[in-house]
Amino acid sequence: MKHPLDPLARRVEDDPAFLGCLLRLYAQSEGLAEERLVEVLGCQRDTLNLLRLCRAPAEEARAFQKGVEEISRTFTVHPDALADVLRRGQALIQLSRPGPSQGTLTAARDAAIPTEDKR
């Protein structure tokens, strides 16, 4: 079924500044379909696009925690599950980047990532 915000949610899926990118990478790494991702996050399907359109929280621990709590509270998502999903997504972005810091699993934001594995 088509959801009203689908086109905009798809637009942010390649941009690590948005949750859409992190959620996509997490789902790909786990081989999850959208329905299963919704279950993991403990949210409604209609909420998923709004989550995708949120800005990714900063990587620094306190800011990350604050961001996760704010998003969880606003869109009624399980905070621990969301934190796990986002951390994995950030790590995958970092791993996908070439350069000396590759493999350090440091979270990162705001740069283009390869899209050849996009669904």
Partner: protein, 222 residues
């Protein structure tokens, strides 16, 4: 120009809500971009469709996506002091309308660059038109001729060409006439203009000869 916010739907956030949402966007609030999309995406599409009634809805959709994404990425592009008269939705309307124009321009460029049957007709591959110019069957004959050339002659012409020659062939088939385009495609920009012209001409002549020979061979055998 008429102030676009005068045509805004009633359900939109009021001025104070717009300002607060924009302040949160600028501050990097994680949920503000989602709330912005929730509040403005559909009204923006509706407005674009109403004001561009001759355009396809997909194009209006794409323009709304681009306008909102641009603001989400760079919220400071809207200055509430400078754009006080139009408000945030008015700003999005103007931005999306510009995106509509940009998308239309891109579409036109794309249409021009497309390799159409007509361009193949005009290429050296198509010369065997039998009817008079006013013959109503001429367009069909041309189309069939172009299809025959594309199916039988082109693969044989392409075989064995270098990547540069293939690029030149594609340009010939598109009906390109500007030497500068060939120069760029062949990477000859470092040469003097007379040298560029000579090399481009040599390449084009070589390919035209090859096309004629291949076509003659196919016509003789068919």
């Amino acid at each position: 120009m008429k102030n676009p916010s005068q045509q805004s739907p009633q359900c939109l956030p009021n001025r104070e809500q717009e300002l607060e949402l924009h302040r949160r966007l600028v501050a990097g609030d994680c949920t503000a971009s989602a709330e912005l999309a929730q509040a403005f995406f559909n009204p923006l599409i509706e407005w674009l469709v109403r004001h561009n009634c001759r355009l396809e809805e997909d194009l209006c959709n794409a323009a709304a996506v681009e306008a909102l994404y641009a603001l989400m990425k760079n919220p400071r592009s809207y200055d509430p002091c400078r754009e006080k008269a139009i408000g945030l939705f008015g700003y999005l309307q103007l931005s999306a309308q510009r995106d509509v124009q940009n998308l239309l321009r891109q579409e036109r460029r794309h249409q021009r660059a497309r390799k159409t049957w007509e361009s193949v007709e005009q290429s050296p591959l198509a010369e065997k038109y039998l009817g008079r110019e006013e013959d109503p069957s001429l367009p069909l004959q041309r189309k069939e001729s172009a299809q025959w050339a594309a199916a039988h002659v082109l693969p044989a012409v392409r075989a064995g060409l270098t990547p540069t020659e293939l690029r030149v062939l594609d340009l010939l088939l598109q009906g390109e006439r500007k030497t500068a385009v060939y120069v760029e495609a062949c990477g000859l920009g470092h040469l003097s203009i007379p040298q560029q012209r000579a090399l481009v001409k040599r390449l084009k002549d070589k390919l035209n000869q090859r096309i004629k020979r291949t076509k003659s061979g196919h016509e003789a055998s068919s």
